[in-house]
Amino acid sequence: MNSPDESSPEVIQRRALLKRAAWLLGGAVSTPAALAFLQGCSRREETAGTPANLRFLDAAGLALVAAIAEIMIPKTETSGAKDAGVPAFIDSALDALYAKPDQQRFKAGLAEFEAAARASGKPFLDRDAVAQADFVRGSLEAALSADHDPKPFILMTRELALLGYFTSKVGITENMEYVPVPTAFHGCVPLSKMNKPVYWE
């Protein structure tokens, strides 16, 4: 068996994680539970979202979800969904966070979304940007005007895109004033004294 390529992204990632773990162990943790926590940890960099390490979606599904997420949260003067790693986040979150029925609803909805695009003329990804955006908007509006509990595919995608984006470094720090250690609480401050909305979550 060949030894693993020391410069492969996977090895580098693992090394980075171990380094991080060692740092934590040195100053902080030394318990099985904390180790389990680390092992269970899926940092954004680990799930780069390349087809090789997809966990839930196939490559075609990922491409579709990535396109939808980017239409909802496009790159403007701040990063878009893709820059923030949202597609890979959605893939891993669908795999890890959702129970079977929700996963199945997502998969079925994804297939229906594409089937509807084809039925109305063209595969979704073959459409131009304006037509894609119109299709996504139409899908959102239809979902919102009907009973949407449990959430259908398009609203699951949206919720995950927002969650992934606003737990990413670029999503938070480029759109909001993120202060890790605020040091004080001021209960009533004029917005005129704030540059950006403050990250409160």
């Binding site: 904390a34 954004r44 966070l97 959702y98 909001m176 409160w200």
Partner: protein
Amino acid sequence: MDTNSFDAIVVGTGMSGGWAAKELTEKGLKTLVLDRGRMVRHGEYPTATKDPWDLPYGNRITQETRRRKPIWSRTNYPTPANEHWFVEDAENPYVEEQPFDWLRGWHVGGRSLMWARQSYRFGPLDFGANAKEGVAIPWPVSYEEIAPWYDYAETFAGISGSVEGLPQLPDGKFLPPMDLNCVEIDFQKRLAEKLDRKLIIGRCANLTAPLTHKESPQRGTCQYRNMCIRGCPFGGYFSSVSATLPSAERTGNMTLLPDKIVYELIYDNDKGKATGVRVLDAHTGAQTDYFAKVIFMCASAIGSAFIMMNSVSTRFPNGFGNDSGELGHNIMDHNKPGGSNASVEGYLDVAYTGRRANGFYIPRYRNVGKDKRDYLRGFGYQGRASRAGVGRFNDSALMGAELKKAFTEPGPWNIGMTAFAEILPYHENHARLDRSKKDKYGLPMLVLNAVVRDNERRMEVDMRNDAAEMLEAAGYKDIRVSSDSYNVGNSIHEMGTARMGADPKKSVLNKYNQVHACKNVFVTDGSFMVSSGCQNPSLTYMAFTARAANHAVEELKKGNL
């Protein structure tokens, strides 16, 4: 003295155990402190400085975690950021004859690491209620007796709050109060004008200013990160790990052993005393006995009751100190069946900075003064007003550049509050052991059976309606009444399993938390509570533990133990 013998043993290191360890060691007792869980030292908080992007899955718990921790997962508490503080439920089962959310923190520091830090005194109304209404048994301690110990506990721990002069919620030794935000101030004014009800900032164990003493140099002030539940590297809030255990450590009198499961008290028939505790090593299962003159049980209301029920002898065939038949009974918690929330118009040009680890509090007003209801006791509300975050875009069709522009505007104001209500002590609400089943350590299976009953159900009507009525009186819109399903234990305030009382036939402990029938054993966690009040109870455990430790040392000196 052999290596397994000490002056004192403290079982548990949570809120009460930390205090027992500090007080006993500071008074010169060589003290063995045992915890069934792993070691945690101040600063050993693995997620405390993680940014949102460093936490897995957007800080949502996985299906795999849900399988491992089914009890914890069904509550509102779980996130990966605090997962390491909650016990592996599936590996450590108990029998729920009625649904019971027993949320366990098995590590040094216990649940003092994850507590909500709300710190309220019980007042004369609470200590007098059982006697006045003929419920259960009277408290053997008056507010006046415990008040100096509240002073003492507050001063050491550092409790922030406002002085209000409310008879039902006595003031304490406070650090400066945190700010209410603009909308909470608006609500406060309207409640006072329209309904003559009081809203105050929560009283919490977060340092809004330096402590007034020099005993905790490792603690700094609150940094307003609102991540307390992860453990605070700044020592901004009180926990055993940040405050009491470091004090105990500095005396040189503490031997702290983690991973030691105390499963039995050793009773010596000839001496008429407990001589020590039996312990299993959590990893190896090795059994060891430790001995001491005085033993403090601080393993939580259910944990201490478990050990005592499992300690049978010819003298105590029904469990340690259980001549009354009350051991394991009278489990209380705080009923939390919902509240109300609303949208607030206006105030769009103001917000707040910093993340306040606290909310507002509406102290009990039902059955206070001239108010008379068709139920006993009452409830308080805990809540907050805030500007909506990005979650408001989940169910919206806004997208593209328009959506991104909307991100840069803070959302509208919302306000919400949840009621916490007193649960009466019922003998029927109980814990017991099923010796026909064993846990993975070979110890008997715990059975829990507790429900809310008629008085609590009647109170729930007011709890929901009053919340909506207050929000309506304030002029807020889209008022929604929330009805949450509540299992006993969900407020993580379980108490009452070894109540104190003047009559040994009706109680397990005397007024100093001593087992009536075995005076060198003290039980100072929530077990001793005779009624639950509607206030968060930790501060009361601190005060009673400090008082009990003082009494223990005085009695030792007199040769009475």
